[in-house]
């Protein structure tokens, strides 16, 4: 049945994007247009902007995103396990305990190597 499928979700997503695009276009049509020199500068709390805006940022962000991917995949693995838990029983519990323990060791390792310290 069409009303139950993921196709509707896709159409909704397209509709949502179209709605946002149309509001932006409508605003562009009706909005005031009076550009001047001062408006066209980057806002840096009233100071004259200096240097490149695309600065180098801390490598910490990459470490966090690596850890995030690890734990997000773990969460994805946990969902099917949670659904099938009624049938798996004690065996499922023990297996997941080992799985989570290994990940926990990874977290503790990252913690002790100071990957979780924000500077």
């Amino acid at each position: 049945m069409y009303t139950q499928g993921f196709g509707v979700l896709f159409i909704l997503f397209i509709c949502s994007i179209l709605f946002a695009v149309s509001t932006v276009i409508a605003a562009w049509v009706v909005s005031a247009k009076a550009p001047n020199e001062l408006k066209q500068t980057t806002y840096e709390s009233g100071m004259v902007p200096f240097g490149e805006a695309h600065i180098k940022f801390d490598v910490k962000f990459y470490l966090y995103s690596l850890l995030f991917i690890l734990f997000d995949i773990e969460a994805i693995f946990l969902f099917p396990w949670a659904m099938a838990y009624d049938k798996l029983g004690l065996l499922g519990l023990v297996e997941m305990f080992i799985f989570i323990a290994i990940l926990f060791i990874g977290l503790v390792y990252a913690w002790r190597r100071k990957a979780l310290e924000w500077q």
Binding site: Y2, A20, Y43, Y64, L116
Partner: protein, 414 residues
């Protein structure tokens, strides 16, 4: 209800593909109306609540009691000049608010507002909501990069780091609900909470998953970038972060999407932990006390309960914003990685043990009441505590020997 509309469209004799599109379009209109109205009221409510906390009156000029203030602001934002600065990546700068906005409204299609007012009743609704809500991170990063502004870049990166850090405890605590209910379908989760017949006592926040609820609440507040976790928008240091350079309608899209996602998260929390559309006395009051079985009235009651519960949580989020100071970045990240994530991992194991005791005692569906959970809970946490204690003892001994040998090594070298 949507079956009715669908059948009506079928009877008109239109081709199936066209019905499909009309159906989706209608759904989007309803969803966006619900979303816009909710957001308009929330913005006004937030301004009023924050004003009362600081002993001001808040907006009271436009319309009676300032009711039309948000509408006036919206019109103002529509007519504002759209400033684009040379040097900005024009495509990314424009695409970012659209990408940020789009998923937040699609989520509404998956949330059951009543048992029939529900866009899509998918078996994996919960997982899909998390997938959609994590898409908005892309918009934030693009906004930060496309703005050609140092503050925006730092704000965007911080916001992305925060969003991904708090998504893990969020998903893991919701996994506790999925584990307890044995399903990812939001409607079944609500029904299984109501199955206990103890009303408020059989909702998950009190009966089975108090720890999950606390983790979910704090990380959902962080996930929607609200105070005290609103570092990406820290006015005093980053000039509102990733949306510094945005004006007019593009800014309005960010603003709208933030409030829309707060509303969505609050509804999701009510569904997962507070019995969704059921009354706190178990079942529906009209049916239970007044013996009224009119389906439309019952729908109204369901929607009323859900909206009341949702707005209680929104009001709490506003009170938190008005009272608590902002965290530091290191505290923010540490709170997620060093506290919430280990806690939620332990929590999942405890729920798994808890459920095993249920299965062991022959309870197929969890019928949680005020007292049925006490003994299994003690058993679950007891077993978990013993296991953790054993691990600590074993690893502690190894660690102790390591430390002793290191000290001896140091003494020898000295």
């Amino acid at each position: 209800m949507h079956d009715l509309i669908y059948r009506l469209l079928m009877n008109l004799g239109l081709p199936v593909e066209l019905i499909f599109f009309i159906w989706a379009g209608l759904m989007f209109v309803v969803i966006s109306l619900v979303g816009q109205v909710a957001v308009v009221f929330m913005v006004l409510m937030e301004r009023k609540v924050l004003a009362w906390i600081t002993q001001r009156k808040g907006p009271n000029r436009v319309g009676p009691w300032g009711l039309l203030q948000t509408v006036a602001d919206g019109v103002k934002l529509l007519f504002k000049e759209d400033i684009m600065i040379p040097g900005q990546d024009k495509f990314l700068f424009t695409a970012a608010p659209i990408l940020f906005f789009a998923p937040t409204f699609v989520i509404y299609a998956l949330l059951p507002f009543t048992d029939k007012l529900l866009g899509l009743n998918l078996p994996i609704g919960l997982l899909l909501i998390f997938a959609l809500s994590s898409l908005s991170v892309v918009g934030i990063v693009l906004a930060g990069w496309g703005s050609n502004n140092k503050y925006s870049l730092i704000g965007g990166m911080r916001s992305a780091a925060q969003a991904i850090s708090y998504e893990i405890p969020l998903v893991l605590s919701a996994l506790g609900v999925a584990l307890a209910a044995g399903t990812l379908n939001l409607k079944t989760i609500i029904e299984s909470q109501n199955a206990g017949q103890y009303g408020i006592f059989s909702w998950y926040w009190l009966s089975i998953l108090p720890l999950s609820f606390v983790i979910f609440w704090s990380s959902s507040i962080a996930e929607v970038n609200r105070s005290p976790f609103d570092l990406p928008e820290a006015e005093s240091e980053l000039v509102s972060g990733y949306n510094t350079e945005y004006t007019g309608m593009k800014f309005a899209l960010f603003f709208l999407a933030e409030y829309a996602s707060l509303f969505g998260m609050s509804v999701l929390m009510v569904i997962l932990f507070f019995g969704g559309y059921y009354s706190p006395f178990g079942g529906l009051l009209l049916q239970k006390w007044f013996h009224i079985n009119d389906p439309i009235l019952l729908e109204f009651e369901m929607a009323t309960w859900l909206i009341i519960k949702t707005y209680i949580f929104i009001a709490l989020a506003m009170l938190i914003r008005g009272t608590l100071p902002r965290l530091k970045p290191d505290q923010l990240m540490g709170f997620s990685w060093k506290f919430l994530i280990p806690l939620s991992l332990v929590n999942i194991l405890s729920i798994a043990i808890l459920k095993l005791t249920w299965i062991g005692t022959g309870l197929k569906t969890i019928q949680a009441g005020p007292f049925t959970f006490v003994v299994p809970y003690i058993v679950a946490y007891g077993v978990l505590a013993i296991v953790l204690f054993l691990i600590l003892v074993i690893f502690g001994n190894i660690f102790k020997r390591k430390v002793i040998s290191r000290i001896q090594l140091q003494q020898r070298t000295v």
